[in-house]
């Protein structure tokens, strides 16, 4: 037991010293590198001041995605890949933005007839049975 303590004490010292020196030798590498965004756009300088607002916007977009049926496991990564400007755009205009999906949802009969007519004029391209621009 005494022999063990004789070995252990210098070991503890060795580990302590090496941990301290390891800590000292690690340069604070990334702290002082200024991001490219600061050069690309002067607006980035104000980032700190708007971070709270951006966080709220992203939270809002997350909520919208979940509401529209996106798998919650996917939502975080989808929001992360947006730029601040895109997140802001989505948070403000989510319901007004066009969702490209090629569906004519719930069209009334008169709209249907109108679209056949405009298809034939080459103004629209909804139906495959109309030959585009054949009335022109």
């Amino acid at each position: 037991m005494k022999a063990l303590r004789q070995i252990a004490t210098p070991m503890v010292w060795l580990i302590t010293v090496s941990l301290i020196s390891l800590n000292l030798n690690l340069p604070n590498a990334h702290a002082s590198i200024i991001g490219t965004g600061t050069v690309v756009s002067a607006e980035q300088l104000q980032q700190d001041r708007t971070q709270v607002r951006e966080a709220l916007e992203r939270k809002e977009v997350r909520a919208q995605l979940v509401r529209l049926g996106v798998d919650p496991a996917q939502v975080q990564e989808r929001v992360n890949a947006l730029t601040d400007a895109e997140a802001q755009q989505l948070s403000r205009y989510f319901d007004d933005m066009p969702a490209g999906g090629n569906g004519l949802v719930g069209a009334l009969v008169f709209v249907f007839v109108l679209l056949v007519f405009t298809d034939l004029l080459g103004l629209t391209s909804v139906f495959s049975f109309t030959k585009k621009g054949s009335l022109r």
């Binding site: 340069p27 604070n28 590498a29 990334h30 702290a31 002082s32 590198i33 200024i34 991001g35 490219t36 965004g37 600061t38 050069v39 690309v40 756009s41 300088l45 995605l65 509401r67 529209l68 049926g69 996106v70 798998d71 996917q74 990564e77 989808r78 992360n80 890949a81 947006l82 730029t83 895109e86 997140a87 755009q89 989505l90 989510f94 933005m97 066009p98 969702a99 490209g100 999906g101 090629n102 569906g103 004519l104 949802v105 069209a107 709209v111 109108l114 679209l115 405009t118 004029l121 080459g122 103004l123 629209t124 391209s125 909804v126 585009k132 621009g133």
Partner: protein, 305 residues
């Protein structure tokens, strides 16, 4: 009344962009078709993932629409939104670039070999049918555009009809190139912002290649020089970062940011004497970031003494 209706309709029929393109087809081949562009027939409402997979595969990224669906599709809206197509492109390690909204730009990109993803409203404003397709060719003599669209591998549409549908989609179009190649019509500032968006996802090797491509077209661009340096620094390539920051300092001796990042990179390699001199230069330039410059200098002095 009927006459008035016709006048209104004819006014609505005007397609100035098509007219301009057909009147001044400067430097364009009369007919181009990117026949090699892959085709993914869309599943119901899935034109977003299908169109995105088309342009990504054309840019060399082997990805299937099914992999993109969980990244862009909104089940309750039966479709995909533009910002999410841009975001998903970044997640694949590619840079999406939104085009200047003219038909001239669109056909210029096709001529350069880049298929163009477009948003169309195939219906009317009162009854929209939003649709993503990929323009892959044009025929100026026949005034036609060729698209990979929906379930049609080769959809030929009169240019005038396309202009109507595209105008209702806000003339929105994007291209995806491989990171070391710039879109033909890329402009300096918007393209840098597109690369920056990818850098912010910490896709360092792609960002480095993209900033390098910017430097090849616009040598001496400060943001791209700093971007290459920062991307290399983040990957632990300090000598490479040093070379890039040195180039930035040489071409922009008044850039405190370039000096600051060079000083930090020198310090990271233990070259503390030169790091201190460089940081002092940054501090003497000052400006809005002078607090950061001073912190860098203090940190280097702490390490040196």
């Amino acid at each position: 009344m009927a006459a008035l209706a016709w006048v209104t309709l004819l006014a609505a029929c005007a397609t100035p962009q098509t007219h301009h393109l057909l009147t001044y087809p400067e430097g364009l081949k009369p007919r181009v078709e990117l026949v090699e562009t892959p085709f993914f027939a869309q599943q119901e409402y899935q034109c977003g993932p299908a169109a995105l997979a088309t342009v990504l595969n054309a840019a060399g990224e082997a990805v299937h629409p099914e992999e993109l669906t969980p990244q862009v599709y909104l089940p309750s809206r039966h479709g995909s939104l533009q910002p999410e197509l841009l975001a998903a492109t970044r997640r694949q390690g590619h840079i999406p670039y939104v085009l200047h909204p003219t038909l001239d730009t669109l056909v210029t990109e096709i001529s350069a070999g880049n298929p163009v993803l477009v948003l169309q409203n195939l219906g009317l404003r009162i009854s929209p049918v939003w649709h993503y397709a990929v323009a892959i060719g044009f025929d100026l003599e026949r005034a036609e555009l060729i698209l990979r669209s929906g379930t049609e591998r080769r959809h030929v549409m009169p240019l005038r009809t396309f202009e109507h549908t595209w105008r209702r989609g806000g003339f929105w179009a994007m291209v995806v190139t491989s990171p070391d190649t710039l879109p033909q019509t890329a402009k300096e500032q918007p393209y840098l912002e597109a690369v920056l968006a990818l850098e912010e996802l910490k896709q360092w090797p792609v960002a480095e290649a993209a900033y390098q491509a910017v430097l090849n077209r616009w040598p001496g661009n400060l943001a791209a020089q700093v971007g290459v340096g920062n991307s290399r620094h983040a990957q632990g390539d300090f000598p490479g970062a040093e070379a890039s920051f040195r180039a930035a300092v040489t071409s922009h001796p008044d850039s405190g940011i370039a000096l600051n990042n060079l000083a930090q990179t020198l310090a990271d390699q233990g070259k503390l004497a030169e790091a201190e001199r460089t940081a002092e230069r940054a501090v003497s330039i000052g400006g809005e970031l002078s607090t950061v410059f001073r912190q860098t200098l203090e940190e280097i002095r702490r390490l040196a003494h």
